[in-house]
Symmetry: C2
Subunit: 147 residues, 2 copies
DNA sequence: TTATCCTGTAATAATTTTTATTACATGTTG
DNA sequence: CAACATGTAATAAAAATTATTACAGGATAA
């Protein structure tokens, strides 16, 4: 299993919004072209990012913009915004342990604490990555191409 | 997305093997009963654990046993054994970023390093959880039930 | 204000991944 | 040899992810 591509799509979108802010009118169609996915997928991710207060979107010809400074957006914010692990947690627990069995009826409670610890460690790391790091790095890479 | 239930099944299996070691002949069918999954699923997980040197399995009536001490088995060992994230990494990258677009053709390279950092943090945490912790806790919970 | 463009969202379908099932060959024990 | 278990392939069922179509409704500009 893997974490949905909605996450990398969201990061891609934010990067593109910033990068093309001055040169293009950024729409879901434009972004879909850059991402290589369907415009509706992009609009759904845009909706998530909008609800999370990360981007500003309005209808009509206005275009899309960032609602926060890149320094103030972390991987974690985006991960939460697109709801990568829903309410279920990072680990999918097998659904029907046998309640007649002493191991079966206790394993869930026993494991949950440790599983959550692992998830917490991942999320803590995500809080340390800022979108400004990503965008800066992308700009450097793009400049490097032309030399 | 979530990490496959093969992982929690594997932990469940190891716990049950240890718990029932003295009182039952532990077979894939027996384990499948405790886990609440198909015996073939259990046998596949058993195969993974066997290949990783975590359990000993033999055909015929011999039963299943642990190949290592519980203190020497970590979440990470099990996670690697059942190949939770295959070769692809924890994050599923959208597959077709547009190579005509400066953002599109650089985003993968730019993100990969940070995504790997997150994955590493998760795996590092998994290396700290020992199966002995789990089994001990399970035994305590089971004893608590009877009081 | 009206034509145009774009977002929001529902409904549906296609694809991929997980999980389950059936079947049987092979090895082991007594 | 008989009884039982694992190993594994082939297949199917179920669930999750991603894509597509369609259209209502807000925003903009002439």
């Amino acid at each position: 299993m893997q974490i949905t591509s909605k996450f990398t799509i969201a990061i891609h979108i934010i990067t593109a919004i910033d990068y093309f802010r001055d040169s293009e009118t950024v729409t879901s169609k434009f972004l879909a072209g850059s991402v290589g996915a369907n415009p509706v997928i992009v609009r759904n991710v845009m909706g998530d990012l909008k609800n999370a207060g990360i981007i500003d979107v309005s209808r009509g010809k206005s275009g899309i913009d960032l609602a926060k400074k890149l320094e103030d957006i972390t991987f974690y914010d985006v991960y939460k915004a697109v709801d990568c692990v829903s309410g279920e947690g990072l680990f999918h627990f097998h659904e029907q342990p046998n309640m007649e069995c002493p191991v079966g009826r206790n394993i869930h409670r026993v494991l949950d604490e440790e599983l959550l610890g692992v998830q917490d460690a991942m999320e803590a790391r995500m809080k340390k990555v800022r979108l400004s790091d990503i965008v800066n790095k992308a700009r450097r890479e793009i400049i490097k191409e032309t030399t």
